[in-house]
Each structure stands twice: as structure tokens, then as C-alpha cells.
Symmetry: D2
Subunit: 149 residues, 4 copies
């Protein structure tokens, strides 16, 4: 598999907006017939992970201590979320992510889940970088630069 096709799997970035296509499967729905509410947070996390990937940031590398660095992982600190319309089995959704604010140790990412032009879900996400003890750490300089901070 080429690096190009891998990036394709990871969505696209245009004008600072990352877009990832997601299919709704059995696992995503609940007995009421629609996508279970907590699963939109999974979709958004996939979007953020692939947005970071496009910026050259990989979870496995961040978390590794092979280079002598402290293991780090992204964590969500706060979210404000609105469930606007339900998604259903077989739907193809698009997760949009953009960096709204970037500070030394936290960033705000605005995210939306759409089906075609219909907005189904909106979230303002405050994310931080933490070490193995859950302590916040400043973003590495190159990560800030790449993410457009």
C-alpha cells in the first residue's frame, strides 16, 4: 500500500478544514433505529486523529518513549455538543474538523458531522496533551506550527 493511498484513507485537508468520510455500520446504531449518541464522539476522534496525521503527528510515536521522550497522548478536556439530526444505518457521513484556537497547552477544534449538506452534529472540543500520569504538557513547537497555530 502506498503512502498516498494511506493518506486518502485519512481524509483530506482544504483551506484548513479536514474532512473524513465515515460509513454508519450496525455497531453504530441503537434499538431506537438511529446512531447512538456517544458514537458521534468516536467519529470526531477519528476526524481529529486523521487531521493530526495529515499534520505529521502520529499517536503511536507520541506515546512511544523509544527516543527517550516522555510518552504523551491527546486527551479531551471539554466539549460542547449539539445533536441536530439523527444518522441511520448505511448512511455516509462527513466529519469536518478545523482548529479554532491554539494556545500553549490546549487547542479548540470545531467539528461537525454532516450527511450531504445537512448538519447532524456540532461540537466545540478543547483538547490537551497529557503524560502517563494525566498531567498536561505543552504542545511541541512543530506540532503547533503544523496545526496552524
Amino acid at each position: 500500500m502506498t503512502e498516498a493511498s494511506n493518506l486518502e484513507l485519512s481524509g483530506t485537508v482544504e483551506d484548513g478544514v479536514h474532512r473524513l468520510k465515515i460509513r454508519v455500520y450496525f455497531e453504530d446504531t441503537d434499538f431506537s433505529g438511529i446512531v447512538y449518541h456517544a458514537n458521534y464522539l468516536k467519529y470526531c476522534e477519528r476526524g481529529r486523529s486523521d487531521f493530526l496525521r495529515h499534520s505529521g503527528v502520529h499517536h503511536a510515536e507520541l506515546f512511544s518513549s523509544d527516543d527517550g521522550s516522555e510518552p504523551l497522548a491527546f486527551a479531551v478536556k471539554r466539549m460542547e455538543i449539539d445533536f441536530v439530526r439523527p444518522a441511520r444505518i448505511d448512511d455516509i457521513l462527513s466529519v469536518e474538523s478545523r482548529v479554532a484556537k491554539m494556545a500553549g497547552a490546549s487547542m479548540q477544534i470545531d467539528q461537525r458531522v454532516l450527511r450531504g449538506d445537512d448538519v447532524l452534529f456540532e461540537a466545540k472540543v478543547i483538547a490537551v496533551l497529557i503524560n502517563a500520569d494525566g498531567k498536561p504538557r505543552r504542545f511541541p513547537e512543530d506540532l503547533r506550527r503544523r496545526m496552524g497555530g
Copy 2:
């Protein structure tokens, strides 16, 4: 199994606060070593479901159309959530839920997840009742009365 032991499985209500004990299992954690952020929404949903159960409201009955009524299900409309401290494998957590506001067609439920006395997670949840088309419906009068509205 007696009705009493079933209710025990569903937590307790005291002074309008519902409390449910939850164990953290493998399924709840992620590779960074802590509980995956979206799973707190599952914990809160369990808390709300069991709070409703204590008020005599059952999802299966609401959703059934056996009595000629429209199938209804609870849905979350909006959430504001704060991730305060991480939970880990084997932890025993307590989910606290209380009705903060009750209107004709929506209610606000304030929820917290604690480990001992430490607050790990806080959420303000706006919940509504929807029919099979996703349209909001007014809460039945007895549900409002039971939930302390």
C-alpha cells in the same frame, strides 16, 4: 430474581439524586491507559436509564406500540461536558444524576462521575423524547410528575 434485587442493580435514589455504581472493564479503556472519553457518555446514559427505571419508565415499553401508542425513545439534544480526572481499569465509579430542569418537551439532567469523593467527569445534559421519525414529543404527564418536574 426478585423485583427488589433488580432495583438494586439499578442504583439508588436519595434526595432526588440517583447513584449507580459502575466497574471499569477492558472495553472501557484505550491504549493511553485510561477510560476512553466517549465511554463517560455511556456511563451517563446508564445512569439516566436507571434513574428513569426507578421512576417507573422503561425504554422497551416507551418504544413499544403494542398499546396503540406511538413508539418513543429518549434522545440527547445537547451536552456540556468536562473531563476532570481520568479513570482506569478496575476502578469502581459512581454516576450521579439529578433533574435540574423539566419543561414540557425537554429536561436538563446534571450528571457527575466520581471515584470515591473525586469528581472525574461532569455533564449538563438536555434530553428530549422523540418518535420514530426523530420528531420531539411532549413528556407524558405521569413521567413529568415522577421525575419531580
Copy 3:
């Protein structure tokens, strides 16, 4: 979005083998650092769903009663599964599915999850079609023909 790009999201079929690329995200892993074992069943279900989609079978249509037909859904009846090697965060996996046997009311689908050429997971899956009461139903003739039975 074109029908072509939708099908691309749904993997490819070649010589009767369906292949779907899947990214490992936070949600898939557990605190031991690897993909949580039950999530391979989700990957396989995605593979089977997209394999069916390529054969013109859609869950939403099967489950709909708009055309006067009984609502139907696929269900797994039996699985034999082997966990060979662990997958990790950021991995790109390939889910392979092929119809091994097709009978009137059940089919055996053989599935594998690979990372590159390494087999991580193998499963023999017996799937059936059930109605809303959980009763098994015969496969529609065109479904059997399309799936290569």
C-alpha cells in the same frame, strides 16, 4: 458524492474476495496497548456489510417494511475465531471476506484481518437472516445469486 466514490469507501471485490481497509483509532484499543478483542468482530461486520453492499444488498432496505415486506436483518449464528497477532493504534488493516458456503437459510463467510501480509485474526462466520421476532428466514433468491451461492 458519486456512487463510484461510495463504492470505493465500501472496499473492493476481486475473485469473490471482498477487501476493506480499516484504520485503528483510539476507540479500538484497550489499556494493554492493543486492539480490544471484541472489536475484530466489528471489523468483520463492516466487511460483511460492505460485501453485501457490493452485491446490491442494503441493511436499511432489508429492514424497511415500506414495500409491504417483512423487516429483515442479518444476524450471526455461530463463529469460530482465532486471535493470531495483535493490532495497534494507527495500524491500517485489511478485512478479507469470502462466501465459503451458501444454504437456503444460512451462509458461511470466511474472514481474515491482515496488516500487510500478516494475518492477525481469522473467523468462520455462520450468518442468517432473521425477522423482527428473531425467526430465521430464507435468503431471497436474488441475494443468493448475487452472493455467488
Copy 4:
């Protein structure tokens, strides 16, 4: 919270059979109205974890390297599973687990999920102990003795 009430949350052991009560919530179901098949594996994993807990084995301790020991975690190697009857929202289920065979580096645990006296799900599970590299390790002698091997 007392140690006694913690153990109560973890089910009971009688004549070598561990039993854990589980409630079916929204998160467990899918759009076809029943419990999503992969979630029975979660139920079984909860059962095995609490069975181990009753035997004095804790995941967090096994995985810790604070005492100079290698971090270890349980992993499933193979499963044979039968889905007999569906479970639904609000159901109370019982997960039964018993050690069927114990060898030096693997054990077979037979598990069932019941609703009342009805068997819904059966599994034969081969579990092993692995280190951080995914390499199998022999069970500690006291673990084997406690688990009745």
C-alpha cells in the same frame, strides 16, 4: 465503600461457577432491535475479569511493573461462540463462567449468557497471559491454584 460491597458488584462464585448480573442498555443494542453480537464478548470479558477478581487477580496489578515484574495482561487466543436467542433493551442477563481446563500457559473458560433460565449465548474461550510485546507467559503458580487448576 466496603470491600464486601465491591465484591458484590463483581458477582458471585458458587461450586466453581462465577455469575455476574448485567443490564442491557442503549449502548448494547443495534437498529435491528436486539443486542449487537460483538457485545456478548464484552459481557463475557466482564465475567472473566470479575471471576479473576474473586480469585484475587487484578488487571491493574498484573499490568503494573512497580514491583519490578514484567507487565502482563490477559488476552483471548480463540473462541467458539453460539448465538442462541437475542437479548433486548432493559433485559437483565446473567453471565456464567467456569474454568474448563487449565494448562501452564493457557486456560479454557466456558461461558454462557442467560436471561432467567434461557440460554442466549455460549462460548468456549481460550485465554492466555501476554507481555507488552504480545508474547505468551506462563500463569503464575498462585493464579493457577486460585483458579482451581
